[in-house]
């Protein structure tokens, strides 16, 4: 039993954190759709297998993408679509030529931005259709016009997709916590930093425990997916239910700790909050996932 990140994994995570902080700072132009996709290809993030890495490393990247509130369709292409693709399609993803998304319950994230969409349990369609706004403006949906479909070579991997959402949510939760801590240390009221007051510090401490527990579930699920462990479905369901809910609550507590500034458009917190709400709602919601988990646990 060894449940700690290796030196290489820690380094990958730190490099991703630094690269994303540089390209996607909090004071960025949030309306920009620039997602630096070709740079992701150069970094090797679109084909981690090439570097001998697996899904645990992809989950770490997704965590950091969540931490940065990255705008591009990485989770759709790598997190959701990849297991469906042939080697040739994967090669075009690796070079950044093709971007993919998936149709879930009739909604396709980034329909207007990607090239192809996986739908109908294994058919690829060119990405065409009408756009629909979503709670997270950086993640619009679309209604797919199903024409010119081609069968896909790969298979569905639901645990992998759910764990990808959970990993991104973990990063969002961590960022909301970090922003809350920073504000509580520096904002002075009644002559003291507000973090001195337990009414402010204790909810942040509670968020910290949420984040650590979420991290444990996400890494557990990621390991199960990477190893094709039989517990992968239940671990992934548990991780998505817990981590996305934790991310939403972490943002809500952080907004509250920020006071008025946390409620403004100007402050970046609402971007993370909307990302958390998107992740919580995409695919199956926490309550539905818990019913699935109950099915497995009571069996």
């Amino acid at each position: 039993m060894d449940f700690a990140l290796s030196e290489d994994q820690l380094e990958l995570k730190q490099q991703a954190r630094a690269w994303l902080a540089d390209r996607f700072p909090l004071d960025r132009d949030w309306d920009s759709v620039e997602d630096r996709w070709s740079e992701l290809a150069e970094l090797g993030w679109l084909d981690v297998a090439e570097a001998g890495l697996g899904f645990v490393e992809e989950a770490l990247l997704l965590e950091e993408l969540g931490y940065a509130c990255y705008p591009g369709p990485y989770i759709a292409t790598v997190g959701f679509a990849l297991p469906w693709l042939s080697d040739e399609q994967r090669a075009r993803v690796a070079t950044g030529e093709e971007r993919w998304s998936v149709d879930v319950d009739g909604y396709v994230p980034w329909l207007g931005l990607v090239d192809f969409v996986v739908a109908d349990g294994g058919t690829a369609y060119p990405a065409r259709g009408e756009e629909v706004a979503s709670v997270d403006p950086s993640r619009p949906f679309g209604r797919l016009d199903k024409a010119d479909g081609e069968p896909l070579a790969g298979n569905r991997n639901l645990p992998r997709a759910r764990t990808a959402s959970a990993a991104e949510a973990l990063g969002v939760a961590q960022r909301a916590l970090d922003l809350g801590i920073e504000h509580a240390k520096t904002r002075v009221q009644f002559g003291k930093p507000i973090g001195t007051y337990q009414a402010v510090s204790h909810p942040l401490a509670q968020t910290y425990t949420d984040v650590e527990l979420a991290r444990s579930l996400v890494y557990w699920a990621a390991w199960c997916v990477a190893e094709e462990d039989e517990r992968a479905p239940v671990a992934a369901g548990a991780a998505k239910a817990f981590a996305t809910e934790a991310a939403v609550v972490a943002c809500e507590r952080s907004i509250q700790a920020h006071g008025g500034i946390g409620f403004t458009w100007e402050h970046p917190l609402h971007r993370f909050y909307k990302r958390a709400l998107w992740l919580e709602g995409f695919g199956r919601r926490p309550a539905e996932l818990r019913l699935e988990v109950a099915e497995a646990v009571l069996a």
């Binding site: 039993m1 650590e212 444990s216 019913l291 988990v293």
Partner: protein
Amino acid sequence: MDLRDTQEEAAFRTELRAWVDANLPAEKRGGRGGAQRFEDPFVREWSRKLYEAGYAGLTWPREYGGAGAPHSFQAILYEELAAAQAPPHVGVIGLSMAGPTIVAHGTEEQKARYLKPILAAEEIWCQGFSEPDAGSDLAAARTRAERRGDVYVVNGQKVWSSFAHIADFCILVTQSDPEAARYRNLTYLLVDMHAPGVEVRPLRQITGEAEFNEIFFTDVEVPAENRLGEEGEGWQVAMTTLLHERATLGFALTATLDALFGRLLEGARELELPPHMREELAREWIELQAIRFTNYRALGTYERTGVPGPEGSGVKLRWSEANQRLTKLVRELRGPEGILDDGWWNHQQLRSRGNTIEAGTSEVLRNIIAERVLGLPRSR
């Protein structure tokens, strides 16, 4: 990262499982804890068996009677004993608190004298930390230790001391210098519970039983060689004890919660549960896995760096609240019978109210996380 047992771990688990099957009779499994654990003479016999098989003090250094095993073995031991619903070792305070503190701060004489009898369940220890006016605020302890020649004369009162009525020794935090600055005023003593002037009175609790005690000290003479660490450094020594309480506790707590959950599931599988209850049940199962894997992550950090990581600092907090929710959920699951005292779940639910108070209240633990982990300014 590899969540499978290593070859050594798998071999240890297999051997342990076989040993438990051979040594733990079916009728001694599934005790409900609380005061019951020290009323049955089998618990001492079981503790001695654990020692003889080398399972007591698994991670302690070999020279003090331990097995010098890695911490992952201790985790496996907790898991397997909980899965078998085995009774605990009777010397739990000695094993998890007194012993490790003596290993860290004791003289060679103290180590030679006290450690082996703890493992062998020959001598039982209790903890004298909390006082009526010093609960969370340990540095405010008023139990007085006055140095007179080669003894300390101890006067005062301790409270919430489990096992005191059967204990042979007490780890006692005393006020040795009322003039000294806070955190420089305490002295840590190892006190013979059979000495003249020590009186133990049972403290009846919310469950109706007396699991804890008050201890009164009246002119109790404690030899100066029974001091652990230096005079005035009791706070620092006590912190070692509490660190051990919190560090080793995670796996033990999770294992007991796991056993409790297993028992709950046995009953729940036979019921037609409505969706909202199935969902609640899944929520608690998920929380349990999250706590379990957080222990493993903390252990991984510990084995890699030699220092307990911050990951584990929330485990006791989350466990205590999970245990409270879980035992209350059972009242719901039992339907109209949830109102009855069935002798087992009723006890678990009432006893769980102590979980967010003992071994650091949830409020104190949130302060610790806020200040030491998150780096927020001190609240006092």
